[in-house]
């Protein structure tokens, strides 16, 4: 069952001539992991803003077409209620910390205070999430003195504590180092295990390849492709549209061009190693 549905949606930001999104039609289901990729300024963040109801409720501009979330028209939806259902995490680790709480513990509790959660339950929840995300050692720290990677984990904790079912996550690791990135991906992996619906914008396609059920590719404001992760990510055509493909796919192409054929196109590093180890490799002379 489609939960979010877009039909011919076109959106133009205020003061802009060109639309940021053009004729987008697609539907998203609950419980799936959607990877969103594509060239820069292709419309990925605008798509997130739309899902979160920030368009049209926070950004004005011109919105054409129809969009519904759980059957409700996006234009009429109560964003205050929507914000309690849909968790949102984005790039900048610095602007996501409220800056008004003295400890990480209190920072994570902030969203729960806003939701009116009783105190005992609130404390329990914060501890639970801190354990889950392995940030217990940060709980008594000043949120304003954390590193970017630590802040991003606190941002995740703060949103996860609010028990949303849907997570819209926009390039959460673009400002982090490899270790910080890995820890964020562990968290995202955990959300997937819990059966949450995830919409993740990410340049690191290898990570998308590992987790996503479906992939959406945006280019110049249009939805270039949408389909199951394997099909989309092994589509070499994407390279011509400024979109990187997983390393395994790049390797498979190079092998094939040299007459070495794998039984199928691997999209993750693991899968590629597996195929090569099994030695199930064909040769073509060319």
């Amino acid at each position: 069952m489609a939960y979010i549905e877009l039909n011919e949606v076109t959106y133009t930001y205020p003061l802009m001539k060109e639309p940021a999104l053009q004729n987008i039609s697609c539907s998203l289901e609950l419980g799936k992991f959607y990877g969103v990729i594509g060239e820069n300024a292709g419309g990925k963040t605008t798509f997130c803003n739309l899902l979160r109801g920030l368009i049209p409720h926070f950004y004005n501009g011109k919105l054409l077409g129809d969009m519904t979330i759980n059957g409700e028209d996006i234009r009429k939806i109560d964003v205050d209620i929507l914000s309690t259902k849909m968790g949102y995490i984005f790039q900048n680790p610095f602007t996501q910390i409220s800056g008004v709480r003295k400890t990480v513990f209190e920072e994570i509790a902030l969203g729960l205070e806003n939701l009116g959660v009783p105190k005992a339950q609130m404390i329990e929840k914060v501890i639970e999430v801190a354990k889950l995300l392995k940030i217990e050692e940060l709980l008594l720290n000043d949120p304003n003195r954390l590193s970017g990677g630590q802040r991003q984990r606190v941002a995740f904790a703060s949103i996860i504590a609010m028990d949303s079912d849907i997570f819209v996550i926009d390039e959460p690791t673009s400002q982090l180092d490899p270790e910080g990135t890995e820890r964020i991906f562990e968290i995202i992996h955990m959300l997937k295990e819990q059966g949450k619906t995830i919409i993740l914008v990410e340049h690191k396609v290898d990570l998308i390849a590992e987790y996503a059920d479906e992939v959406l590719v945006f280019q110049k404001g249009r939805l270039l492709k949408k389909g199951d992760a394997r099909t989309v990510l092994s589509d070499l055509e994407l390279l011509e549209h400024g979109t990187m493909l997983p390393q395994a796919v790049i390797l498979e192409r190079e092998l094939r061009l040299n007459g070495i054929v794998l039984p199928k196109v691997p999209v993750t590093t693991e899968e590629c190693i597996d195929l090569l180890r099994k030695g199930d490799v064909g040769y073509e002379s060319n």
Binding site: L54, D78, S83, G99, L115
Partner: protein, 264 residues
Amino acid sequence: MDYDFTKQYMNPKRTGNVIRDLNPMSKVNLMLVLGLSPFIVQNYYYGFGMVILFVLFSAAAGCFRSFFSLYWKVLLLFGVFLFVVKAAFAPGEHVLFRLWGICVSTESIQSGLNIVSLVLAFSGAFILFVKTTPMDEFTYALEKKGVSHMVSFVILSSFQTITDLKQNAQVIMESQKARGIETEGNLLKRAKAYIPVMGPLVLNAISSTEEKSIAMDARAFSAPVAHTFLSELPEVSIGEKAVVILFDLAFVGLVTGRIVLWLI
């Protein structure tokens, strides 16, 4: 990990210090009454008495150091300056000495002391309030009085913004130096660096405000339910209420007295 620290949230916040534990609203009330009373009394002995009282209060509240480290600057900067100006230029009959248009008289000295005592008394009350009241406790009290959640967030985050701006200014300064813009040296050179530093600072502040409001929206800031509080303050005790009312009555008395005197 030991979660004992979470027990503190189950009880209202108390420090054990009588002055600190006053409700922020009581503190505001007392600050206004005590800080403004010298304006009514109009006697610099009283004003300076208040100044001493505030210093004593700060010591009793255990924040003498942080209080005085700020207060002495006000004392020196405004106090001395105002006194000198008043003493030198205010008119008076009992001239003590004259020098190039400066005329110091008993009256001008008195008027200098008067104004200084007023300014110091009020700023003392204000600084004492700030130093004994954590901002989040103040906004908590405001919210309990029915002020909107948004307002209290704006108050709190504007304090944070000042720190953020400072840090960002530092980075921008480095960034502009690194491209070759001179920020050290004479006034002219520094003036030239003004726009390259202020430009990005203002633009960043605007864009981060936008991002912040989106981030806070994601934390259900405007969720249509009654909020709960992780840290709470104790209910105001009857004794505390009585003390505040007593001070308020005394203040009303002073004002009435002043008006009566003025009418006669």
